[in-house]
């Protein structure tokens, strides 16, 4: 009995967790985000394509690389950050499963960083998506010709990468929801 009293007086943590299953789902979602970031990065980085086009008066082989457009460079940077974050937070989440007393503090930390990363990822997806859309359809009002009829592999890679990035954004939103629901179930009225 004495040892239990000492234990309970020294701990200032909330009641024992009701959401152990939440943390398993949390870990799974974080690994999904890591996978999505890595796949999106890999697909867009391998998207280079060179075609012979009629460029500025002559027929020259002209490469299409993601580095040419600032939006895609930002996309790569954003998903590198998100991949690193997903890895670190997945490992932290696994570590926390074994030490239940840190759970609520970790949850609250996670929701803060998750929202930041969501902002970064969502803006990167939007930026890459809009530029890719212009590349697909062109813009007759501004005289911007479409390029996807020529650079088909490049555009396919872009489309795949952006689709995976969209999935990654949805996973991040789900992570925030999960943290919000877990806080909801822990904090009594």
């Amino acid at each position: 009995m004495a040892s239990t009293d000492i234990e309970y007086k020294s701990s200032s943590t909330p009641p024992p967790p009701a959401g152990v299953d939440y943390f398993k789902v949390d870990v799974i979602l974080r690994f999904l985000l890591l996978a999505a970031s890595v796949v999106a990065l890999g697909v867009i980085v391998s998207s280079d394509q060179t075609e012979v086009v009629f460029f500025q008066g002559t027929l020259v082989p002209q490469p299409a690389k993601f580095k040419h457009t600032p939006a895609f460079v930002y996309f790569v940077a954003a998903f590198s950050v998100s991949g690193l974050y997903a890895l670190v937070s997945a490992l932290a989440s696994i570590a926390v499963i074994q030490k239940p007393e840190f759970k609520l503090k970790f949850l609250l930390n996670f929701i803060f960083w998750d929202t930041l990363v969501l902002g970064i990822i969502a803006s990167a997806t939007g930026a890459a998506g809009s530029v890719a859309y212009i590349g697909l359809k062109g813009n007759s009002n501004l005289g911007w010709i479409k390029v996807c009829n020529v650079y088909d592999k490049f555009c396919r890679h872009l489309a795949g990468s952006i689709a995976v990035a969209l999935f990654g954004s949805i996973v991040t939103v789900l992570l925030i929801w999960l943290s919000a629901f877990t806080i909801h179930s822990r904090v009594p009225k």
Partner: protein
């Protein structure tokens, strides 16, 4: 088993006072209302600024060297580009959500904890939507400002300077509005963290 049950029961009892504080931190507060008003106002003004953005300029188009240039009036408006339309739509959605959530928060001052969770869930969606709209408009803006020499997309902001400037202002205002939504998700949780 008996010992652990005793531990569970007494930790619930003593943590009651702390938990009540946490409950208060979760409930609606003045900060929450102020941020919602700010988010509503900012996204509304961003939407209005970009919707009212219009510039017409007469452009000389040289068809060939022998003929005199054709003078064509060209208009720059938000409906000419899908990315700007998307930006406008996301700001409109965020603005209506901001108004609705403000009304709901005013009516339900901290009475329901489930409402806080629902609002956090919807705030997170708004953060994602708004940031993606900002990114799309910013990418198109940079493209219009610098062009893309590799695919022969000429820059347009040297001609339509007023349009580009107004669009930049709108994107900036919308960015601050999305930061307001982000803080709405994050700050109540940070306060809970400090009290926990």
């Amino acid at each position: 088993m008996e010992g652990s049950d005793y531990y569970k029961r007494s930790s619930y009892e003593v943590e009651g006072a702390e938990s009540k504080e946490m409950g208060k931190a979760v409930s609606m507060s003045a900060y929450d209302l102020v941020m919602r008003v700010l988010a509503f106002v900012l996204t509304l003004s961003a939407a209005i600024v970009i919707a009212a953005d219009k510039q017409t300029k007469v452009i000389p188009i040289q068809l060939s060297d022998s003929l005199p240039p054709l003078y064509v009036p060209l208009t720059a408006k938000w409906n000419q580009m899908s990315a700007i339309l998307y930006f406008l739509v996301t700001n409109a959605i965020a603005c209506t959500y901001g108004a609705l959530s403000l009304v709901v928060a005013l009516v339900n001052r901290g009475k329901s904890k489930g409402l806080w969770t629902l609002m956090t869930v919807l705030d997170a969606i708004m953060v994602a939507l708004l940031f993606s709209g900002n990114g799309a408009a910013a990418a198109v803006g940079v493209l219009g400002y610098k062009g893309n020499s590799h695919v022969n997309w000429k820059k347009v902001c040297n001609v339509f300077d007023k349009f580009c400037g107004q669009m930049a202002v709108s994107i900036g205002v919308s960015l601050i509005g999305s930061l307001a939504f982000l803080l709405l998700v994050v700050i109540p949780v940070v306060r809970l963290h400090r009290r926990a």
